[in-house]
Amino acid sequence: MRLALLGCGLIAALAWAGCKTPRADFQTLVSASDFIVEGEVRRLGAATLEQVEDTSRTVVVRVDRVLYAPDGFADYTGREITVLLAEGHDVEVGERAVFYTRGWLFGDGIAVVETGVPPGGAPEGLGQIADLKATEGLRARLDAAALVAQGSILRVDSQEGQAPRRTEHDPRWTRVTLDARAVLKGDPRDGELVFLYPASRDVHWFRAPRPAPGLEGVFLLHRRDDLGVAELVVIEPEDVQPIERLSEIQGLLEGK
């Protein structure tokens, strides 16, 4: 209730057209934003960082509430930040608004770039920001995956021989055999599936999941010809999910 009221208040403040913003628009805006705050405009044509030379489109905003922020930046309530306004978005001193932004400069303070203003407003959406951001990474990986399967790891083969190229970034591809019990996306084959993961601890690969025999979960397998491999691969942390998220993943795949 509180969020809804807040949203309608914002509609008035920003002269939004109403509370009928298409969900996709709002979702796109949230997706493009990684720092979403409610705040009050304190100064126009100003900045909190002296390195911001062009202040023609920047304003200083006092953060009253953080609606979404990455780890490490959640505690910005009460601080002033610099916002580079989106084209066509004009504000006045004293005006309160929700600013959808992405990061720009991080020094003693921070400056952010407004990613846009919801064209139709979305007060009910404000409460969904946290949920949208929480699944954002997973949704992106699901969208990109060539095949999503539920199953358990049968085997992890020892590393293959000499790499064809000598580089400190050699991924050291390692072969994994998955007993696929259900295919949630992609070619609907059950049974054994083979994919690779990079065993390297190099900066390019250290975040990759490292499946072990017996691991049960949901596996997001990708085709990456650009990496020089024909097989399916897992390379990002989101690519191996615990089995407990199965229903959530099924829901995401069904567009719920």
Binding site: F73, R166, E168, P171, D226, G228
Partner: protein, 1003 residues
């Protein structure tokens, strides 16, 4: 919150070498305050510094986007010389980080980066942005898969055809082929659409074992010399490589059809010199501490000498150990020293060279054992070519913590740059805020507790775990308040030379802060903050006064600056001499002063036989800010001091303690014939060469006169495009460039100029400017008459001709009346009897050739005077005066030139050291040694031209032996030398003729 370690001064004094002040060291943790919560492994840093403004610094590391966004990764930027830092996420990415990343920034302010794109494997992007503080992502110029370790370096051209162009070189290991060592290069990358002018050049010609190793490192010199170092596999196993270290070189920016092929190896004649062959390099693991190992290379070229190049690399002599070392070549990479310095258990060798030739060698070394192991980061410096080294410990931090998140733990490289006299660098290390870890002090921007030695979170409510952070360091050779400079150029009060080294305008000889006046007052600066220089006057008209304005980069201390003024002939290449026997003065700076202008000049006099067309230079020194090398006395900018292997010597650009003014301004009026303005071109080198001048008219000149009309007097010359070449000039030879400008009237005040740059390897090493100021006949007449008078007075003095002297005095009397009416000018010149008698005597002088067209000029003047038309008389007067002045300079210099004493002795040493028929003569070695000692002593001011006859007299036994070997043709000149021992000037003339015969014999 910015946090200063309270127990240590951030600026810590370290004993410096030589006479300089103690250098200052700053170390700064680069993680911004807003990132106080971060625990990333910010390893493998790189750095670049804006050469136009060293306050602007950009760095990179394996730092993720602070917001977790995946589309971009950040760079570090500073606008206060590294004291504080920002993160700006503008590097395109697929996972919010980058793989390998290096950065390069030039004078145009455009930032380039070579990266492996995050979220990919070996996808190399070459990126560009003209606004690295803005919010827009960098533009991708090149994107290529299967490429490793893009390593970007660049410079912005100073002169020649590359002026202001961004020349960018990205070394990379292109694994698409076995010949994988590659350089992607662009010669004008700042604005062109993708690919930004980039093209890939394979620099490996010998098929290696499968491929080359990852690091390919470029190093660039302003004269167009570009080096690239790489490691070539002979073979490798899973843990051990056998490699050759190879250096390639290109002498023209890499622009030829076969780039990097100018340095070959004698073993096979192929491009790429082997510096080391078959050395062992451990590969990846077990590594050193928590770090992996492998090939690591760094190369840097000396800004003062493109043939001096340093190479540092990693190897594993026993197959498992770790060592870094540095070596040097002083002949363009053909021959290499042994190890100048080697350090065991070390990684990340990185080398850079300052504008004063000081080499910096940074590395990280693992010390101690077990849990007590520490990573120490050192900067070693040497200002004697690596014979001795200073050692600055930048950090000594725990090696066992934090636990590695990924490889590389600290980096496969660290960053080091030299800008001006200073070193700027970046390294990664454990970020525990413990004063004991940073012997030279440190500042943090992120929140810390210095008492508990802990990191604090953003809200300062709890601690944050230790991680790997990037640390910036700046080693400043001379503090700002002691770094004095004379501007090389001024465009306005706000746009001028700020003491950068090298300075940034290749026309560094027309608007500098050294000037001449005919009265002892500096005169006000112009509206655009330039000094108002006057041409020198001959002694009968009065003395001259040399002035300079001196700036310094900061304030805070009272200092006294010594100024020494020098002069040379107007033109290029002429050697400098002191303006007088007492050429020095001092300027006192109070603590708050940043600029001082001399209120009284250094008095100097042009003697009766010397031309008033003169170039002026000043050298300033303090005990803490000496010249970077030998004085200009006895030599010319562009040509190296004795003992140097450099091809070019950018002394005026590279040393902000030196400035020169080489600009002739001539009032003109009337109509009819052109006036020929002359400038002397002297070959200051020790070898015969083609002298090339780039002719640069300003827009105003082109608008009024179209293209400049030039000629060469005293030898051959040819004009092709905008280049005027004087072929085959022998050491010490003089020729004259003539610029013919039609007589033109005007209202005065506007200058129409043509600049001439002396180019060596495409780089402007010296130059001069001729400017005309169209005015009324009455406005131009006094100067024309003065020059006319001076020329005939010179003729009288040089030849003892009374008619010429009378003509000069007659003209001087009229000029001395102040305003010269056109009618009076015509009447004076209508009586041409003394003029003609003086000229006739000169023209009939045995051996005199009328190279400057005196006869024709005199006839034209006589006819104009008879016609009684001032508009014809005035340009005729100027033209004859200019021609006669140059003819007399030539005549005078044929007898000898004290300014060339040092060059002549240096040339003598060169000939006797290298001439196959002379180098083994009895006494030859001693001659070479004594000559070189004399040259060094001359440059140091310990001997003068007065000591020259004594040197020569002591070498006559060797000269006599030379005659015996080379031939009797030398005998006459030898006798001439013997007969000239009473006059250093005439001795120089005879000595040079003797050496010319020797050189001819060699050819």
């Amino acid at each position: 919150m910015r946090s200063l370690n309270p127990s240590l001064l951030a600026v810590f004094l370290v004993a410096g070498a030589g006479p300089l002040a103690a250098q200052t060291v700053r170390v700064v943790n680069m993680v911004p305050g807003a990132q106080s919560n971060e625990t990333n492994q910010d390893s493998e840093p790189d750095i670049t510094v804006d050469p136009n403004d060293p306050n602007n610094v950009v760095a990179s590391a394996f730092t993720p986007n602070p917001t977790g966004a995946l589309g971009t990764a950040p760079i570090y930027i500073s606008s206060d010389r590294g004291n504080t830092w920002l993160l700006n996420s503008i590097v395109p990415s697929g996972n919010g980080m980058t793989g390998d990343i290096t950065v390069a920034l030039g004078r145009n302010g455009v930032l380039y980066a070579g990266i492996l794109r995050g979220g990919s494997s070996l996808l190399m992007d070459i990126l560009r942005t003209a606004n690295y503080t803005g919010a827009a992502a960098m533009t991708t110029l090149v994107s290529r898969n299967n490429v490793d370790q893009p390593f970007a370096r660049m410079l912005t051209g100073l002169g020649g055809g590359e002026r202001d162009d961004d020349l960018v070189y990205v070394g990379n290991n292109d694994l698409a082929t076995a010949l994988s060592a590659t350089v992607d290069q662009s010669f004008d990358a700042a604005t062109a659409p993708a690919p930004g002018g980039f093209a890939a050049s394979v620099i490996e010609l010998r098929p290696p074992f499968m491929q080359d190793a990852p690091p390919i490192r470029p190093a660039i010199h302003h004269d167009g010399t570009v080096y690239a170092a790489f490691a070539r596999y002979q073979t490798f196993t899973a843990t051990l490589d056998t490699v050759d270290i190879v250096v390639a070189r290109d002498d023209d920016w890499g622009k030829s059809a076969t780039p990097f092929s100018d340095l070959t190896d004698p073993s096979d004649g192929l491009a790429g010199r082997f510096v080391a062959q078959g050395i062992s390099v451990a590969w990846l693991l077990p590594g050193l501490g928590q770090e992996r190992v492998g090939e690591r290379l760094s190369i840097a070229v000396d800004p003062t000498d493109s043939q001096t190049v340093y190479l540092a690399y990693y190897d594993s002599p026993s197959g498992t150990d770790s060592r870094v070392q540095i070596r040097r070549s002083t002949d363009g990479g053909n021959n290499w020293s042994g190890s100048l310095l080697s350090v065991a258990s070390a990684l990340n060798p990185t080398v850079a060279v300052t504008v004063r030739g000081k080499v910096g060698f940074a590395y990280q070394v693992l010390t101690g054992a077990g849990a007590a192991q520490r990573w120490e980061t050192h900067l070693r410096t040497s200002d004697d070519g690596g014979a001795t080294w200073d050692d600055t410990t930048l950090a000594t931090t725990p090696a066992a913590t934090p636990v590695r998140a990924f490889f590389p733990y600290l980096g496969d490289y660290m960053g080091l740059a030299a800008v001006g006299k200073d070193f700027y660098g970046v390294f990664s290390a454990n970020n525990t805020p413990d004063p004991a870890n940073f012997p030279n002090g440190v500042t943090y921007q992120r929140n810390v507790d210095w008492t508990a030695n802990t990191l604090r979170n953003l809200a300062n409510t709890g601690t944050v775990a230790v991680s790997i952070d990037p640390f910036f360091f700046h080693v400043q050779e001379i503090p700002d308040d002691q770094d004095f400079y004379v501007r090389d150029w001024t465009d306005s009060a706000t746009d001028n030379d700020a003491g950068l080294e090298p300075s940034t305008d290749p026309i560094f000889f027309t608007t500098s802060d050294v000037w001449n006046r005919r009265t002892d007052a500096p005169a006000p600066f112009s509206a655009n903050d330039r000094p108002q220089s006057e041409d020198p006057q001959v002694a009968v008209l009065g003395d001259n006064y040399a002035f300079a304005r001196v700036h310094r980069k900061g304030s805070g201390s009272a200092e006294t600056v010594t100024l020494r003024f020098l002069k040379s002939e107007f033109g290029t290449g002429s050697n400098y001499v002191d303006v007088s026997a007492t050429p020095t003065d001092t300027l006192t700076f109070a603590a708050a002063d940043t600029v001082q202008t001399m209120t009284a000049g250094v008095e100097w006099t042009l003697n009766a036989t010397t031309s008033s067309h003169t170039c002026l230079a000043v050298e300033i020194t303090t005990p803490n800010d000496p010249l970077s090398g030998p004085s200009l006395v006895g030599r010319a900018p562009g040509w190296p001091p004795a003992g140097s292997n450099t091809r070019t010597d950018l002394i005026v650009l590279n040393d902000n303690n030196i400035a020169q003014r080489n600009m002739g301004v001539h009032k003109t009026s009337g109509r009819g014939s052109s006036i020929a303005y002359h400038a002397l071109v002297h070959n200051a080198a020790l070898a015969t060469r083609d002298v090339t001048l780039r002719v640069i008219p300003d827009e105003r000149f082109v608008g009024l006169f179209k293209q400049p009309v030039t000629g060469v007097v005293g030898g051959a010359g040819r004009m092709e495009g905008d280049l005027l070449t004087l072929p085959g000039m022998r050491p010490g030879e003089n020729r004259w460039v003539a610029l013919a400008v039609p007589a033109t009237s005007g209202q005065g005040g506007a200058l129409y100029s043509v600049s001439f740059q002396e180019l060596v390897d495409g780089l402007a090493v010296n130059g001069f400017t001729i400017a005309v100021e169209p005015t009324t006949v009455a406005g131009a007449a006094p100067e024309a008459l003065r020059l006319y008078a001076e020329a005939f007075l010179r003729l009288g003095a040089l030849e003892g001709d009374e008619s010429a002297a009378r003509e000069g005095k007659r003209a001087l009397e009229l000029a001395g009346r102040g305003e010269v009416s056109p009618k009076a000018l015509v009447e004076l010149l209508r009586d041409g009897s003394d003029r003609q008698r003086g000229l006739d005597a000169l023209l009939k002088r045995p051996g005199f050739a009328d190279l400057f067209g005196l006869s024709g000029a005199a006839d034209r003047l006589s006819k104009a005077a008879e016609a009684g038309d001032p508009e014809l008389v005035l340009p005729g007067t100027s033209d004859l005066a200019q021609r006669l002045d140059s003819a007399l300079t030539r005549l005078d210099k044929l007898r000898g030139d004290l300014a060339d004493v040092r060059q002549t002795v240096d040339w003598q040493a060169e000939l006797y050291a290298t001439h196959p028929r002379l180098c083994n003569l009895p006494g030859s070695a001693e001659l070479v040694e004594r000559s070189r000692e004399f040259v060094l002593a001359f440059s140091a001011g310990k001997v003068t031209a007065d000591d020259y006859p004594g040197l020569v007299e002591g070498l006559f036994d060797v000269y006599a032996a030379t005659v015996g070997v080379v031939g009797e043709s030398l005998q006459a000149e030898l006798e001439a030398m013997r007969g000239a021992l009473g006059s250093a000037k005439e001795l120089q003339g005879a000595h040079r003729r003797f050496l010319l015969l020797l050189e001819a014999g060699r050819r």
